[in-house]
Symmetry: C2
Subunit: 198 residues, 2 copies
């Protein structure tokens, strides 16, 4: 059956999103066909609006509808501890852990010379400005434990050495609920290296 | 971080779709934020248009922008063999198998007395009309091998008995690429019962 063009187009839009295949996209569109027009209209409106009302926070670079985001605007947060993340979505993940009460700084990516992503493509200048303008106590490098992540950690550590700031990175070790038997060697080595007294 | 309201709304729209959780929906919306406005606009437009231009085929009940769908309109198909399916999306799946050259009939669901879905809620009257108006040779009941599916097969078989038509249902057996060791008893019993000569 060749589906009507508007439906095929919508399936293509869904399947262009990361992690959604052809079959899942078809299922989603067939589900949407059963919804009422109001639902589709408000879905469409929100798709259009996410870019209209949203800008980047003038300090950390995350998303906001004002000048500063809700975290940078919050006086109960510790503005002298900056957690550096690569992507906007990392803030979401870290906030859910409820372990950090400082503020964030979004780099907008990882250093990757092979892909042509150099320091000037990331929000590093903005980070240095924040450090120069405030008496920052700690910079936490919350970057992925990958080659790009480690490269970025190395670069930033060298760059920040001249400031008298504590620089930390997220602990490496066994993930909660995992099994020693299935852990890879690097994870195990990191877990051993970083062992803590009980 | 409390995200801007338009973004939270869009995440909620995605996570209301079947199979998309909160985390996946967040990832999709963060991906969409990186796309240009044209992409979002055409995505939104197609969301609005799927209901505008699309109606149900006057014969089989599947989707079309004309009066008849592309299959019911196709003179190369065998219009005397009707494959009865529960959902629109089942037509897609069966067409991909390229094994059937007849036409379809969408019931719009399964009989389920416990959920209040009775024969009059399904497109059964329309099926009988098609049978009365044409000399149909075969009705293939392509329904899920579930309790609802079997209930619907039983009901339709009884109902169609008074017509002199061959009534068939899809074969039960081992799925391609599967392993005897992991097949459940019912599947194995069906595979044994339906064994074919080689």
């Amino acid at each position: 059956m060749s589906l009507p063009i508007s439906i095929r187009n919508l399936i293509n839009h869904f399947s262009s999103l990361p992690g959604l295949g052809q079959k899942t996209s078809e299922r989603l569109v067939f589900y949407l066909l059963k919804q009422d027009k109001n639902f589709l209209a408000s879905f469409a409106e929100n798709l259009l609006r996410i870019k209209d009302n949203v800008k980047n926070c003038a300090l950390c670079g995350s998303l906001t509808e004002q000048n500063l985001c809700s975290i940078c605007n919050d006086s109960r947060r510790d503005h002298l501890a900056i957690c550096v993340v690569a992507e906007l979505s990392d803030i979401q993940s870290l906030e859910k852990s409820r372990e950090f009460n400082g503020v964030y700084h979004v780099l907008n990516g990882y250093l990757s010379p092979t892909e042509g992503i150099n320091p000037e493509n990331l929000r590093i200048k903005e980070l240095l400005e924040r450090i120069n303008n405030n008496r920052i106590k700690e910079i936490i490098l919350a970057l992925n434990p990958t080659i790009e992540g480690e490269t970025t950690v190395l670069y930033l550590t060298k760059l920040l050495k001249r400031y008298n700031i504590k620089i930390t990175k997220l602990a490496r070790g066994l993930p909660q609920g995992s099994d020693l038997e299935y852990a890879d060697e690097v994870t195990l080595a990191n877990a051993m290296k970083g062992r803590t007294q009980v």
